[in-house]
């Protein structure tokens, strides 16, 4: 006698689009001109294109998806097809000034390995991670008992590419574990970087980290 009811549309808090232009701008602000930049999961290469054309950077992308890779080729961006789950095999140590990983860390199988690899191949690692400790996520989990959903795409828990849920505090733990120095921590609140924001772990929807292997010094 069960009557089929239309599933109730639940409004959920959505994490920002990984390719958000605003995030790209925040990343660009951290990268010095005329440096060598590696973008892990570069998608169609738009961040690298700006870095190349505006900041005269020497750029290299890594992307698994062939269609995205071809889109990057149409922008003249060099891209290596590769799976981040396999690390950065074949990339020599310290071959880049910056390695960028934007909104992808939660999607790789071994986040620890990939951050370690970034610190190996680049002088500095720029990582933008979603902050699953955002108050709205906490509210959804705490009050509604529902798993957090990220990105504007309607992923459900069973088909989401997000394998890991971390907060800013959690990410700091990882940095410590890897003996990496956090050169910069920029909470991103509604698309704006707010340096030294109060209650960042509660208010930021994501955060940008600039990491450096301890003992390394950024050459200005």
């Amino acid at each position: 006698m069960a009557t089929v009811t239309k599933p109730k549309k639940i409004r959920r808090f959505c994490m920002p689009d990984p390719f958000a232009v605003l995030t790209d701008e925040i990343i660009q602000a951290q990268i010095r001109s005329r440096t060598r930049v590696l973008d892990l999961g570069c998608g169609d290469g738009r961040l690298l294109q700006t870095l190349r054309d505006v900041h005269q950077c020497q750029v290299q992308g890594i992307e698994l998806d062939l269609e995205e890779l071809k889109a990057a080729m149409h922008r003249g961006i060099p891209v290596l097809q590769g799976d981040l789950d396999h690390g950065l095999d074949g990339f020599p140590d310290d071959s880049f000034d910056f390695a960028v990983l934007s909104q992808t860390l939660q999607q790789v199988r071994q986040p620890r390995l990939i951050v370690q690899e970034m610190l190996r191949v680049a002088k500095q690692a720029l990582v933008v991670v979603p902050n699953f400790a955002h108050w709205k996520v906490r509210l959804k989990v705490g009050l509604h008992g529902r798993a957090p959903v990220t990105s504007q795409l309607p992923y459900e828990w069973y088909d989401t590419p997000n394998l890991h849920f971390m907060s800013m505090c959690d990410f700091r733990d990882l940095a410590e574990l890897l003996e990496a120095k956090i050169v910069k921590e920029l909470p991103i609140i509604r698309g704006r970087a707010v340096e030294g924001a109060w209650w960042a772990n509660l208010r930021a929807d994501s955060a940008l980290y600039v990491l450096e292997k301890n003992g390394k010094h950024s050459s200005a």
Binding site: K70, M73, G76, L80, Q81, G90, P92, S95
Partner: protein, 421 residues
């Protein structure tokens, strides 16, 4: 079956500006002509890697499309081991088949002849019109045979490079090659780093693996142990202008081809194509004298037979040896060192089922390019066809060549503007 040996060739030619006769297929380059050019004439012979000299050298080549006024749209294609200059179109309307990469070369195709001027030449040491062991040695008036000097890929690339200059081109938009052709592309980048704007390396590696050397050795042994090999002097007609391949080590050459052909396929593609299907009957014959029982045997026999009709065994010996010798790291003190000198952009492509030049070899090229800070794009394409995939999987290749070449061409155009300022 005999092969015409070119005798005379014009000393200096202008790039072809005439369009070919209208073909029924608008995407075909139409009727094409193999042209000949003589290089390294006395007193300027080619100094070979083994220290000896060779000259004059006749080169058989074809071109498709038009060289533009800025001369910045030329693309050179290096053919694979047993290929030839005839890459696209037909040499006569009644030809059964078009050139070996016709699917990729033509108007609106991957190598778009509306935009680019495409060159392909038979390699030094080959037997399809370019000077090789079957050519007449001007010093003796007889065919070289095994007196032909030992040649390497570096020597072949020197000839490619000289042909390019003779065609009036200072800098190529791209050099493209698969397999052994890809090795020549790498050699080109190392030896003449300023002559190329981009390089496309398909199903290749910085050296031939021990397994590859082993297969080549079996092929050569089949040829040299054929009773008709006669120390390479099997041409019969030693002074004429015709190579008579009928008299050569046909059986050995066919076996060499059969072995090599297996390495070009994959287990999956052989299984899909032939399985264990029998050729003539439903049941086994239980007769040792039956030459061909399985379809795959018939196929290899056919490949062997077709090959001896068009290829000279001595060329096969020289070219496979050159392939064995190729080792970028050994010749230049490291793969990175070899590739660091060029500013060319690279596109490196490997294929999942290729076991002769597996992806790891392409990745080694890529890692070396990354190490030297070069502009490099790498893709591993899914394909069941083994090493031959680079010839067969034209569409995915075309989708990558199109942006790669047009983006490279943009940099060429901006360089030219820079120069004229």
């Amino acid at each position: 079956m005999s092969i015409e040996n070119p005798v005379a060739a014009p000393a200096m030619i202008q790039p072809d500006t005439e369009s070919p006769p209208a073909a029924s297929d608008p995407r075909s380059v139409g009727i094409v002509e193999t042209k000949f050019l003589t290089l390294f004439e006395p007193p300027h012979p080619l100094v070979l890697a083994n220290g000896s000299t060779l000259g004059p050298i006749t080169v058989a080549y074809e071109t498709y499309g038009k060289l533009n006024a800025a001369k910045d749209n030329a693309i050179y294609v290096c053919h694979a081991l047993t290929g030839d200059a005839h890459m696209a179109g037909k040499r006569a309307t009644e030809d059964r088949k078009p050139g070996w990469w016709d699917e990729l070369v033509g108007p609106d195709k991957g190598l778009d002849t509306n935009r680019y001027f495409v060159i392909c030449a038979n390699v030094l040491g080959g037997c399809q019109g370019t000077t090789g062991p079957g050519s007449i040695n001007p010093a003796t008036g007889r065919r070289y045979g095994l007196d032909f000097p030992f040649i390497t890929f570096a020597d072949m690339v020197s000839v490619h490079s000289e042909l390019t200059r003779k065609l009036g081109i200072d800098k190529l938009l791209s050099v493209i090659g698969g397999s052994v052709g890809g090795m020549q592309v790498l050699e080109w980048a190392a030896k003449f780093p300023d002559q190329i704007r981009s390089a496309v390396c398909l199903a290749t590696g910085p050296r031939l693996s021990a397994q590859g050397i082993a297969f080549n050795m079996v092929g050569r042994r089949a040829i040299t142990s054929d009773p008709n090999f006669s120390q390479g002097s099997y041409y019969g007609d030693e002074k004429g202008s015709i190579i008579n391949i009928e008299s050569g080590p046909k059986l050995g050459l066919a076996i060499a081809r059969m072995v090599a052909h297996i390495t070009y396929l994959s287990e999956e593609s052989i299984e899909n194509k032939f399985g264990r299907h029998l050729q003539h009957r439903e049941q086994f014959t239980f007769d040792m004298t039956t030459d061909v029982e399985f379809q795959v045997e018939s196929y290899l026999h056919y490949q062997g037979q077709r090959f001896v009709e068009r290829f000279d065994a001595n060329s096969y010996l020289y070219l496979t040896r050159a392939m064995d010798y190729f080792d970028l790291a050994r010749d230049y003190g490291g793969v990175s060192q070899a590739l660091a000198k060029t500013n060319a952009r690279f596109l490196v492509v490997s294929y999942t089922s290729d076991w002769l030049f597996p992806t790891a070899q392409s990745k080694e090229i890529v890692a070396s390019l990354v190490k030297s800070g070069r502009h490099v794009t790498f893709v591993e394409l899914e394909s069941p066809f083994g090493h031959d995939s680079f010839l067969l999987e034209v569409e995915p290749l075309q989708e990558m060549l199109e942006p790669f070449l047009s983006q490279t061409h943009l940099t060429a155009a901006s360089d030219n503007i820079g120069k004229s300022k």
